[in-house]
Subunit: 200 residues, 2 copies
DNA sequence: TGTTTTTTTGAACGTCGTTCAGGTTTTGCG
DNA sequence: CGCAAAACCTGAACGACGTTCAAAAAAACA
């Protein structure tokens, strides 16, 4: 078959990402192959390579979408609180909830590995950093006496902790028996860390 | 070629794991293939399957060895402290140090994914849980008034935090600029969490 | 209409994990 | 020692993977 012009390049990209999203959501990143995505949108594998550099590019765009969704959720969560401790707790719970509800899509963000030597593109890196930034605002309110570097460090520490709880849960590495759900772990981290960070 | 009997099955397994270790240490898990391991030990790919169920089995045995090394290191670290806060700090720093020094071997433990439906075998699961257990002993000393479940939760929380810091660093997801090294993040987590956990 | 341009294909390449019929060497036995 | 039986190891083969690109086909243009 030759030229069809049924869809523009942008349309094909959108369709491919949509199909990829469905595959990853239902079967995980391991089930995502170029042939499957192509088949799902009624095009041949070669066509995908007119739209994406390679599968890694497709996956990174998929992950960018997932991170955008997560960002929107967390921004709402942060605004729902009163701006201090409640916001941070809401952020933590929002992150845990997202990682549980969209486990495979969220997992794909951290499961995917670039070939050695390749760098995470800035437009994806930015989306990750933007997330950690959400913690800084309420942290600043909560501990006005701390300088920017200390707040940044605390935000990274809290973020690492919540993230670690989620990822250890996803990989099944955390003890299931009496070990605490990721939600309990996240709450514990936030409560005790904050109590230590700003003496309250 | 036919029967050789140059090495016993156990010897072949040891040689294969040694070769796999070198490959992963130098080039990462992505460079590990059955053909490469087989070639490195002077056997054909088929022979590997007489010794391991499949590549996943080889990788999990490799990871078990890595976790054993980590456990030995952390046990020494915990004993070096006075048993309380210093031990926990030493554990955190030991974990971070290991993850940095043996980045690719350590990363392989968490990068490797079983095919869907497969479970992590108990002999590997045990090695992971044993690690978190190392945190509980000094935690108990530090907060004698807490019951076992609370100590367990705190150990999991601290472990998740340290682990999260390391894995975000490895994947390059943490801001490099003024974000704090994994060591700083780990110290911050331990110090502030412990101050909140046992009011000191 | 014929010609050019654009778009899409799908066979092909090299790689992967994995299998297994068959060849080769050792072993056991008379 | 000779010869069958057993044990061991090979390597070609299979299907699937990411990726490429000559060529076919359709659209656009003349």
């Amino acid at each position: 078959m030759g030229r069809r012009s049924d869809h523009s390049r942008e349309q094909i990209a959108r369709m491919a990402l949509e199909a990829a999203r469905r595959i990853v959501r239902e079967e995980g990143l391991g089930a995502l192959t170029a042939r499957r995505v192509a088949g799902a949108i009624g095009y041949s594998p070669g066509t995908l390579y007119l739209v994406f550099n390679n599968l890694d590019g497709l996956i990174m765009q998929l992950n960018a979408g997932t991170l955008d969704e997560l960002f929107a959720l967390l921004r709402r969560a942060a605004e729902s609180g009163d701006g201090g401790r409640a916001s941070i707790r809401a952020l933590a719970r929002g992150y845990v909830g997202f990682s549980l509800e969209h486990a495979r899509l969220w997992g794909a963000v951290y499961e995917h590995r670039l070939p050695v030597g390749e760098q995470v593109p800035p437009w994806l890196q930015t989306r990750i950093e933007r997330l950690v930034g959400l913690v800084e605002t309420p942290l600043r309110e909560l501990a006005p006496e701390r300088d920017a570097d200390q707040v940044r460090l605390a935000a990274n520490a809290l973020w690492s902790g919540i993230h670690g709880a989620c990822i250890l849960h996803l990989s099944g590495s955390l003890e299931k028996t009496r070990g605490g759900s990721p939600l309990e772990i996240a709450d514990s981290l936030v409560d005790h860390y904050l109590r230590g960070f700003c003496g309250t």
